[in-house]
Amino acid sequence: MAAASPLHRSLLGAPVIGGAAVVGFLIAWWVSAKSFDPMRIPQPGDVWDAAVQLATTGYAGGTLAQHTLQSIMLAFMGFAVAAGTALPIGLAMGMSRSAEAVFGPIVAFIRPIPPLAWIPLAIIWFGLGDGAKIFVIWFTAFVPTLINTFTGVRTVDPTIIAAARVHGAGPRRMLLDVILPGAAPLIFSGLRVSLQASWMALVAAELIGAFFGLGRVLMTAAQDIFPGMIVVAMAAVAVCGATMTWLLGVVERRCLPWLKVTP
């Protein structure tokens, strides 16, 4: 995936332009927050104060560190369970039309149902602990990996499959040495989306009686109508999500050393 064209490679690097854009955004915010209705746009100063409060004295039952740690744990668990279940099912669906026929309709039907709608059922089935929260995250994060794994398997170069067959690959070898690595780039694309979905579902998950968590901070701030704190919680979620995605990228490069470029 080379740059679209030499003409459109920019003279300045990504960090410079990206940095400038972020600074520009902050200035635009600062100016507009001053000039528009101050009740409706969180003031930079309020956000700063909220950040300080959260980091030091705490809010919604804990400090930034406690909330963040808890959310990272939860998002990761949800993501891990989602990936751990979606991968084998996706592989099965990709390799067998029967498995596709079995799982396909159920997944297609359940997939549009929002995480919020599952909360009561999650509580009834799993109680108020982490189980219910992980279940809610799982529901959202499961699908992207599943679909990408399925598509990845189906798009493995048939010539390569044929080559492996003529060299005597049995089902096990085919899975481990051909299908899995062949589908791996797409699987990782799916994992990225699942990771995003995990963080997005976190807010809903932490509605289930969470004692700590950024989602709880968000919802408490929403209850309290504390826009500054909402922004702080949003920013914390965004930073955590982006960081985990970056880590996933590192893992991806480690796992796929044969790729010329990782997308």
Binding site: A163, A164, R165, V166, H167, G168, A169
Partner: protein
């Protein structure tokens, strides 16, 4: 015992709006130890024929036998070399070459010396730990050949194996192939678009015609090759021989008439990459 026998083989593919007849009854016999090249217009069913022999596809009617046994699926007695190399991109050169051995359950320790030997035979020393994309096309094709040869198959099935290579590399690979098949005489089915290549390499050249695919003519080269000792001479020299040029021109003429009106027919079909 490794001859290939196609007997009244047809293959029809399901298409929107009915079946598409890719091969009309084809009967072709490649005796044990012979090198047969197939040339023919695009879409005439060359790849289909080869896939039938490989066991990657099944005939609609008729029978395909290799070494006296009916073909039911791929087997290590038949190695296939594809035009696009079809190396596993996620495996190093060494792992690719050893893949078939591993599939047979051989341990790494057992496979190692064999792999090293083929690395050397194929002049790939020093590249054992590279990934395929780090190699030139010629080197990739050498890896693909090594991967097949290491299994010591009785039958070699090659589908335009040198089509993706540049002219010089191609010639080198042709010489290489002559050398390798001369060492251990093997039954070879070799598909090519190059009439020169077919003439230079094969004992017999099968000219196919298309829509539906059929054998148009079989041209014998073996007698000349033996008589003029082509195998012992550099390829440029062989290609300048009058006898060589005559066969080549004859094949060309056959092909051009076989391929006539191809474009019009092609409108209604999808060219599928071999």
């Amino acid at each position: 015992m490794s001859g290939i026998a196609f007997t009244d083989v047809t293959r029809a593919f399901e298409r929107k709006g009915g079946a598409f007849q890719a091969l009309e009854p084809v009967t072709l016999h490649v005796p044990d130890g012979e090198f047969v090249a197939i040339v023919g217009p695009s879409g005439c069913g060359k790849t289909t024929l080869l896939r039938l022999a490989a066991g990657l596809d099944h005939p609609t009617t008729g029978s395909v036998m290799v070494g006296g046994r009916a073909v039911t699926g791929p087997g290590p007695d038949r190695a296939v070399v594809f035009q696009q190399f079809a190396l596993l991109p996620w495996k190093t050169v060494r792992q690719n070459i050893g893949f078939g051995l591993k599939c047979r359950g051989m341990s790494d320790a057992e496979a190692r010396p064999l792999v090293e030997r083929y690395l050397a035979t194929m002049r790939l020393e020093g590249h054992g730990d590279s990934y395929p994309h780090q190699l030139s096309g010629g080197m990739q094709q050498r890896v693909a050949i090594a991967r097949s040869f290491i299994l010591e198959p009785e039958v070699l099935l090659m589908d335009e194996p040198f089509g993706a290579l540049d002219a010089q590399t191609r010639i080198e690979m042709q010489e290489e192939l002559i050398r390798l098949t001369a060492g251990q005489r093997r039954t070879v089915l070799f598909i090519t678009h190059s009439v020169e290549e077919a003439t230079y390499l094969a004992d017999r050249v099968v000219v196919m015609a298309g829509r539906p695919g059929s054998v148009r003519e079989i041209v014998d080269v073996a007698s000349l090759r033996k008589a003029e000792r082509w195998a012992e001479r550099p390829v440029e020299e062989v290609m300048e021989l009058d006898s060589f040029i005559r066969i080549r021109t004859r094949l060309w003429r056959l092909l051009r008439s076989a391929g006539a009106h191809r474009d019009d027919a092609a409108t209604h079909t999808l060219p599928i990459a071999s």
